[in-house]
Amino acid sequence: MSELEPRPSRRKLGIRVARAFLLTAASGVFWLVIWFLTSMLLANFPNYQTLFTVLAWGLLFFTFAIALAEGTIYKYLLIIIRAFFLIVYLAYATNSGTLTINFKNFTLTVEFVPLLALMIVINLLDIARGLLQAIEFAAQSPKD
């Protein structure tokens, strides 16, 4: 085993960590741009800042962890956990698909349950894909 799969050297580990940092930084810039674009428009949504922060930091963590776990089965496990996190987050943050904004004597309610259902289906498909990828990875012989 040790002959077939040599222990990754410190240099390789360093490259992997650096790659994970770079990917996370790029994602961070992306989420920052999204924040600037949406914060003015969606400032009236209740708890928008908190919810956005949870989503951005959550996905940044998964980006870093998945990049770090590249080449191991943990990568697929993390993909599955990320999909679960997104399902729970989307259902909670969107109040099960119904958002309400209150102005002075004016209320706007947007109901998008079919869209939320679609997002949940996408994440379930992502879980299925993660499982299949994990099976495929586990089935691979070290030679492959």
Binding site: T107, T109, F112, M119, I122, E136
Partner: protein, 266 residues
């Protein structure tokens, strides 16, 4: 080679297919709300929507409100489940709830419709008869509901106060007289029509003696436009046998008692 082709390939293909499906669904999920917002912005610009002068009318004891409107759906998606709901309340007590469903508006089509609300005077004023004789501050909750692309529904509600103008504001009965020869009881009434509708329903006048026995009654045809004052002399033929020195007058409008006051002959 054979093992690779028959064993690993289908799983990889499935994973790849799932990846494409997921990417495609995410694109649809993100594009749909953005395009719905653009669609609504297109609809809101220019003169694609308009409300014409509301028409109020009062006939056969029913109060009707007609709001003609037109919508030109220049957006990308059909608009369905369009409904308007209006709730009028006084001091948190509902007076009337009116709702109307409008037809679906397919993309690229224009519709001319009208919101017709109708309620009987009895229903409205039964619990709040003072609204007929006293101006009041009312609360209006107006709600507009519609669904775009059959996926995203919008519900816009607005609460605003409004001033209710009573149709019989300052209703007063005076100059009571009785002609003993002709057995005619007469009195003058006056009021201001502060309501937004004309009064063209008959007024029923009932005259009672001190023993609460009806001594006479009559109808009085009214035609008082909105914002006008009314003053008139009403004469009631009475049963002389039941006539007393005092009693009370009751006025009814649309089957509702709007006024009761005692009278004493001079």
């Amino acid at each position: 080679m054979n093992k690779r082709f028959y064993g690993a390939h289908p799983l990889r293909l499935t994973i790849k297919a799932l990846g494409w499906i997921i990417a495609l669904l995410w694109i649809i999920t993100l594009i749909l709300p953005i395009s719905v917002v653009f669609s609504l912005m297109k609809l809101a610009e220019g003169k694609n929507m308009g409300i014409q002068e509301p028409i109020f009318s009062l006939s056969n004891g029913n109060l009707s409100l007609t709001i003609p409107l037109y919508i030109n759906n220049t957006g990308f998606y059909d608009i369905s489940e369009v409904s308007v709901k209006i709730k009028i309340s006084k001091a948190n007590t509902a007076i009337a709830t009116l709702s109307k469903n409008l037809p679906d508006i397919p993309a690229g089509c224009m519709i001319n419709a009208s919101c017709n609300f109708s309620a009987s005077l009895n229903e409205i004023f039964q619990r709040h008869s003072t609204l007929l004789t006293e101006d009041a501050d009312l609360d209006v909750d107006a709600a507009l509901h519609f669904r775009v692309a059959r996926a995203i529904a919008f519900n816009i509600t607005q609460n605003f106060p409004t001033r209710w103008g009573a149709p019989f504001q300052n209703l007063t009965v005076y100059d009571v007289a009785y002609n003993t020869t002709a057995h005619v009881f007469s009195f003058s009434i006056s009021f201001n029509n502060h309501a937004f509708f004309s009064i063209n329903e008959p007024l029923t006048i009932e005259l009672y003696n001190s023993g609460s026995e009806k001594v006479g009654s009559t109808f009085w045809s009214l035609n008082v436009p909105s914002g006008e004052s009314f003053q008139g002399l009403i004469e009631v033929n009475v049963d002389p046998a039941k006539m007393t020195e005092s009693g009370f007058i009751r006025l009814f409008f649309g089957g509702l008692k709007i006024f009761e006051e005692g009278w004493t002959l001079p």
